[in-house]
């Protein structure tokens, strides 16, 4: 009798354990063992030895966003590859052609990004 949910119950259990460990150690055991008297010196942010200056906002430039954007697009591509890969035996040649078209289009996207120097990090 295939109990579908057992596997996921196990995963849920793991999540709970995953949360319990840090919470327990940081907030339960930790305070018992750790001294805690923060002084001004300790609390300033590290600035390789000197007084911190300049605001902490990352300087605006788009390449961080562009990489995230490419990540989203190709993540979706990967997603669609999985069902294809899984059911490849049953699908036969037509699915291969289909997927080749799919991949070809996305490669065009990659080439576009490459030519537009989006992939350079400078």
């Amino acid at each position: 009798m295939f109990q579908y949910w057992n596997g996921y119950l196990f995963v849920a259990l793991f999540i709970i354990l995953g949360i319990l460990l840090p919470v327990a150690s940081l907030w339960v055991i930790g305070p018992l063992l750790r001294p805690n008297h923060p002084t001004q010196g300790k609390r300033t942010t590290y600035e390789s030895g000197l007084e911190p200056f300049g605001d902490a906002r990352v300087r605006y430039n788009a390449r961080y966003y562009l990489f995230a954007l490419l990540f989203v697009v190709f993540d979706v591509e990967t997603l669609f590859l999985y069902p294809w890969a899984v059911s490849y035996k049953r699908l036969g040649m037509f699915a291969l052609v289909e997927m080749l078209i799919f991949l070809f289009l996305l490669v065009i996207g990659l080439v576009y990004a490459w030519r537009k120097k989006v992939l350079e990090w400078t």
Binding site: E47, S48, G49, L50, F53, G54, R59, Y60, N61, W121, T122
Partner: protein
Amino acid sequence: MSLIDEKDQVRTEEMLLNVGPQHPSTHGVFRLVVKISGETIIDAEPVIGYLHRGTEKLAEDLQYTQIIPYTDRLDYLAAMLNNYALCHTVEEALGLEIPERAEYLRVIAMELNRIASHLLFIGTYLLDLGAMSPFLYVFAERERIIQLFNELCGARLTYNYMRIGGVKWDAPPGWLDKVRAFVPHMREQLKMYDDLITGNEIFLNRVRGIGVYDTETALAYGMSGINLRSTGFDWDLRRKKPYSIYDRFDFEIPVGKNGDCFDRYYLHLLEMRESLKIVEQALDQIPESGPVLGKVPKLIRVPAGEYYSGIEGARGELGFYIVSDGKDKPYRMKIRKPSFLNLQLLPKLLRGQNMANLIAILGAVDIVLGEVDA
């Protein structure tokens, strides 16, 4: 070049970054204030003086023999070369004649010390670029040389071995055989370094074509040593203005092709091989016995006048300029510190580079703060 060019005056907010004295990748207490916009460095301004001990002022109140220990602490990685530089200047001033055995001992000591200094450069440079293991290997070899020096003069770093007119002690018995044994071992180690890192593509990407400058710029900034030779200009005082007995040995001067960080790194390796050759020849030619210290008056007095002589230090032309008024203490002593001069090109080199290259360029210039701040 105005820091903020008029076109995008508003948009780019520069950020002042402090590659400060505490920063792990600077060799010693050297602070670099870097103004970056995004990843590219717009301007860099070195701040030195954290290690200034006023050696030149102290020397005015010390007899010449008393100055020698201070010279150990200039370029603390190659103390022998510093000692010799001072002694050489005073000997030339007095016109003393150095016994043969002392000369050979001096040459052997200097070349060994040069190898030790280059080894340390390679170790720290590769560590900056991320490779951990070479650093350890290099220190093991350097330890051997330091052991040798320990036996020779009793100290690991601050040798104070040379005296005006010769050396303090003769080599302890069996010392020379140990050195002779050390040379082949060292060659084999050099080959190992080559295999380990010089071929590594990631390393090559990091250093090749970075921090490039040509001979005219190097000469204009008064650079010397490997930084100058890396641009293809073969200027080595040992060959160009031979002093002491360097003319008796035959060794080439390795020269770089396009003055980038890789050339500077690779020249160190090649130069070590040359130094090994010198030591080998010195070991063959050293007279078995003989005085190690020439006839030197009890109290050395340099006749009034100004004297300067430079030798090929580990990082460039190291020279002492002494003005004497006839007394036993120099009236004024000025040291030509090669690291200080090599440092001047740094801001120009760094402009336009990005942060990752900063480390590569800074390491390659190979400056020792003891020598820079004197």
